[in-house]
């Protein structure tokens, strides 16, 4: 069943700077499951942040990173959903457009690299789901997380545009993260705006509108009775975790809703401690929520 358990890890810009809790927990969970994540050497931005300004430069950036993975001879594993979509889209574009490939390779030649098909890119959560599978992951668990009522946020680019993702999940009725969360024993709470965007991409354009979009989801989640949120993208975490206080201030409301990355949740079930999972770095404190799962410090 297992095709390969070694991957080239593409961290992107945001995770090493603002998502070290995500990175830490993903590395721990990967090691526990026997996935070897090999850091991609000298990688640069995936191109996503400059797509709106300059699509052709964005494509060159993506192709450069893909060419690095090709040189390593490994499939790419991403943690950020925006990186996932930028790199996957580039693969699709370059594989069907010979012209684009030529243009890109002219630039890459200056760095001694070449984009060549095939390069496969998948999000960490998708690899967990497809390559290991919920049942096999569950065998590694020591704790039952049934006190948790989790609202899952898929975010946009983990699933969309669907045409680049080989139908691994369903945009209108997604299931993969539901499956990975429910094996921990946590209750998955459905809520009204489950498919809504986090608003993150327009934070540098219009902060108030971005925060208003994020607020809608926090309102829906709290109304549905969840006591925590689970997600798989550092941009989404910036909106719901780092900016939760700002949203509370701006709109005179209060949530106090802890936001966990998927591998943090899986890691708690596996028996890792707080520090190993970077839980001390989550902005909304998780101590009360998780008090039952850790020894008193």
């Amino acid at each position: 069943m297992k095709k390969s358990s070694r991957y080239s890890l593409f961290l992107g810009c945001t995770i090493p700077a603002r998502g070290r809790n995500y990175e830490l927990s993903a590395r721990k969970v990967a090691a526990q499951l026997g996935l070897e994540l090999v850091d991609m050497d000298e990688y640069i931005c995936c191109g996503f942040p400059i797509k709106s300004a300059d699509l052709s430069s964005a494509l060159i950036l993506a192709a450069y990173n893909l060419a690095l993975a090709k040189k390593q001879g490994l499939d790419v594993c991403t943690l950020c959903s925006s990186c996932t979509s930028a790199l996957t889209e580039a693969v699709h574009h370059l594989d069907k457009d010979e012209n684009a490939r030529e243009v890109v390779n002219k630039s890459l030649a200056k760095a001694g690299l070449v984009y060549e098909s095939p390069v496969r890119v998948r999000h960490f959560a998708r690899i967990l789901y497809e390559e290991i599978g919920p049942d096999a992951i569950q065998k590694h668990f020591q704790k039952d997380l049934s006190d948790l009522h989790i609202a899952i946020h898929y975010g946009c680019h983990y699933l969309k545009p669907s045409e680049i993702y080989d139908g691994f999940d369903n945009v209108e009725n997604p299931k993969t993260l539901d499956a990975l969360v429910s094996i921990t024993g946590a209750k998955v709470v459905d809520y009204a705006g489950k498919k809504r965007c986090c608003g993150g991409p327009i934070l540098p354009i219009d902060e108030k509108t971005a925060l208003a979009v994020a607020k809608q989801k926090l309102d829906d989640i709290v109304a549905a009775g969840a006591n925590a949120m689970c997600l798989v993208c550092p941009f989404c975490a910036v909106m719901y975790d780092s900016n939760q206080k700002g949203i509370e201030t701006e709109f005179e409301t209060s949530y106090n809703l802890p936001v966990l990355y998927l591998p943090q949740l899986l890691g708690i079930a596996m028996g890792f401690d707080r520090k190993e999972l970077g839980l001390n770095m989550n902005v909304v404190k998780t101590k009360d929520l998780l008090a039952g799962y850790f020894d008193k410090e």
């Binding site: 000298e42 640069i44 931005c45 709106s52 300004a53 809504r196 327009i202």
Partner: protein, 158 residues
């Protein structure tokens, strides 16, 4: 978003757009409003309306569209594109509009800052030795600090 003024139309605008990937099918739009009902921005700001942006483009309102702040409110979430019954690639169309706006000299400062960072130093948040020390302390491996390769793939003009 401004009222539509048919006095200032430019038929080349739509023709240019339909040549760009993502813009091909905009004239197939039936104004069914499915995109509008799916849009997370319209939900919080009723003046933002993707179907209306398509209409304005079809009418050839180049300056109003490219010079307007509203195109930058699109988050590229693909909610609209996934659901359009006419196969209009709305999200990609919006991205093309933003690219054309930049080519015409309209670029919001936040977008400009990101573009300069990425094409100039390779990453939005570069990593230095100090960052690596902090990483090692919490049991994370050091990451390469150099992104010099951007100078090779994006040579400075002039």
């Amino acid at each position: 978003m401004p009222d539509i003024d048919l006095g200032k139309t430019d038929p080349n605008f739509m023709r240019e757009l339909t040549k760009r990937p993502g813009g091909e099918r905009i004239s197939a739009c039936l104004t069914c409003q499915t995109c509008v009902a799916s849009c997370p921005i319209t939900e919080v700001n009723g003046t933002f309306n993707p179907a209306r942006i398509i209409r304005m483009t079809l009418y050839g309102l180049r300056e109003e569209v490219l010079g307007g702040d509203f195109i930058w409110l699109c988050t590229s979430c693909y909610a609209c594109q996934e659901r359009c019954p006419q196969g209009v690639r709305i999200t990609e169309f919006m991205t093309q509009l933003k690219n054309m706006a930049v080519e015409a000299g309209y670029i919001p400062s936040g977008v400009k800052a990101q573009l300069d960072l990425v094409t100039g130093q390779g990453r939005i948040y570069p990593i230095d030795d100090f960052d690596n020390k902090k990483r090692n302390k919490i049991d994370l491996p050091s990451l390469p600090t150099s992104c010099d390769v951007v100078e090779k793939i994006f040579p400075k003009e002039g």
